[in-house]
């Protein structure tokens, strides 16, 4: 399980996260919602170590991983798909997927995971030797998620997977996430601008505003709170 305690991050003088605490249980999807600039992306980047935390702690199964470097955290089972650029555009589809499994000790399972991704995302199978920059937005997002899953992560950090995608594709990706969590020992932290579709699949929702946690509640609860939805979620 991933847990964040009193996490604070600054970009120069700007406070991006201000004492944020969240628990991300295994087998659940935790959605982080809020307006632009609320600190959603900063939260993921601080957890994965791309941005240095000023204070507070990040715990992975009880171990303090606050200042573990991103490459080491990745090897410990935390897969982060950053916003809109989770793939290497110059590499082929297959190479991107192989990247995800590069540091797996179990080579047979890495190869199996790669085959599974082609079953999970048939469009990728048809384009395996094409370079990733030829893919559509939806296919790119599939590839980014696929390369994260090849690593067989324990924690999946997803930043705006619906960004720039048609509603139909977004719905596909969301329902896929639901299936993934059901089948595996996986904790998902999903950052979304598109609160409606995120809440439709999340177990738990966290609303951020100006770097602070406004509220943490069951997803269904949040979706039915009209005042909160209007104030923070824009639907």
């Amino acid at each position: 399980m991933l847990a964040v305690h009193e996490l604070t991050t600054n970009y120069g003088a700007v406070c991006a996260l201000d004492g944020v605490s969240i628990e991300v249980p295994v087998g659940q999807i935790t959605a982080v919602l809020g307006a632009n600039g609320a600190g959603k992306t900063s939260l993921l980047r601080t957890i994965s170590g791309l941005v240095r935390a000023r204070s507070g702690r990040v715990l992975l199964d009880g171990d303090d991983v606050t200042h573990v470097r991103p490459e080491d955290l990745a090897r410990r089972g935390v897969a982060h798909v950053p916003e809109g650029r989770g793939v290497v555009a110059e590499l082929t589809v297959e190479e991107n997927l192989r990247l995800g499994g590069l540091f797996r000790k179990d080579r047979t399972d890495a190869a199996r995971a790669l085959r599974e991704m082609y079953e999970l995302f048939p469009p990728l199978a048809e384009r395996r030797s094409r370079s990733a920059h030829t893919l559509s937005g939806g296919e790119r997002q599939m590839l980014a998620i696929g390369r994260a899953l090849v690593a067989r992560p324990r924690v999946l950090l997803l930043d705006e997977p619906s960004l720039g995608l048609a509603p139909k594709i977004t719905a596909q990706i969301m329902s896929l996430l639901r299936d993934l969590v059901a089948g595996q020992q996986l904790a998902v932290l999903l950052v979304e601008q598109n609160a409606r579709s995120a809440l439709s699949i999340a177990d738990q929702g966290v609303v951020l505003g100006l770097g602070k946690v406004i509220t943490t509640r069951a997803a269904a609860d949040l979706a039915s709170d009209v005042a909160l939805r209007h104030a923070y979620l824009g639907f």
Binding site: L50, E71, D72, A74, V81, R85, V87, V88, A89
Partner: protein, 293 residues
């Protein structure tokens, strides 16, 4: 006709050396977005190390190995200790640092081995051209060795980049440091390794130039300027472009000096550079593509 074949073969052999220089520059550019102006100085140092090995009484192959190995070490050390500090700084900083390194390495070479030129490096291969009947062409056993050595290094590099996990990690680091880190690649090590491998190609060029010219701390300046032109002509981003650019420039210069006179070779190099930069500034082999930044 026989003159044409003669000039073509000479140009091809010279071109393979330029290819090696260009490849060294391209590998570093791809890995760290730094134009390594110190390349010539590095190759000069490693060639002098090889010469020292020969002076101590060891054979050519020991010297050859010493050149490549010291190139590997020198490349890694320079990246780690000096270039690392300017990789994320504005591009001009890196230019100034590698130019400074070139001056420093040239001075160090002069301090250790003297500034006056010394005789060329002996090789086990005859420098004389092959003889067919009564004609001798400008391409002999040493040239055959040279071409095979450069090809071997190229094939090994391509195999490493294309077919190994390490090569995949290096390419990912070159294109997107963030994604590479997020899949667990230790990007810093990949950049160091990139410099080390590039320096091997550079050292190879040095030891292959050395038998034909007197050795001095500036002996790589000429090949380096031409190799740089080849890299720019082929596109700094493309290893195949570096190879084709190197051979192309080698041939072009050979025709210029063969038919117009040797004095025209260097101006012709710079002429080619200017024309290519005017017509296709991104190089002949660049792939036009939108980069997602």
């Amino acid at each position: 006709m026989s003159k044409f074949i003669d000039i073509t073969l000479t140009g091809f052999s010279a071109g393979m050396v330029y290819s090696a220089v260009a490849l060294a520059l391209v590998l570093i550019w791809r890995a760290t977005r730094v134009v390594n102006f110190a390349q010539g100085g590095m190759a000069m140092i490693t060639t002098y190390i090889a010469v020292t090995v020969i002076d101590r009484g060891y054979g050519y192959w020991w010297a050859f190995a010493a050149a490549l190995l010291s190139g590997l070490v020198l490349g890694a050390v320079l990246e780690r200790v000096i270039v690392r500090r300017v990789e994320s700084a504005p591009p001009l900083n890196a230019v100034v640092v590698t130019l400074g390194l070139l001056v420093l390495l040239t001075a160090v070479g002069g301090l250790i081995w003297g500034n006056s030129s010394r005789p060329s490096v002996p090789t086990p291969f005859s420098l004389a051209g092959y003889t067919f009947g009564k004609t001798t062409v400008g391409f002999g056993r040493f040239d055959t060795f040279l071409v095979l050595a450069v090809l071997a290094v190229m094939v090994l590099l391509v195999a490493l980049f294309r077919f190994t996990g390490l090569g995949l990690a290096m390419r990912a680091s070159a294109y997107s440091q963030e994604v590479a880190r997020l899949v667990g690649v230790r990007v810093g090590r990949m950049l160091t390794l990139g410099w080390a491998l590039a320096a091997i190609a550079g050292s190879l060029a040095g030891i292959l130039v050395a038998p034909r010219v007197p050795l001095s701390p500036n002996f790589m300046d000429g090949p380096n300027i031409i190799g740089f032109t080849a890299a720019v002509v082929g596109s700094l981003d493309s290893p195949p472009g570096a190879v084709v650019g190197g051979v192309g420039i080698g041939l072009a210069l050979s025709y210029v000096s063969g038919y117009l006179g040797a004095d025209f070779a260097l101006p012709a190099t710079l002429g080619i550079l200017i024309v290519v930069l005017m017509i296709r500034p991104e190089g002949l082999f660049s792939r036009a593509q939108a980069r997602v930044v």
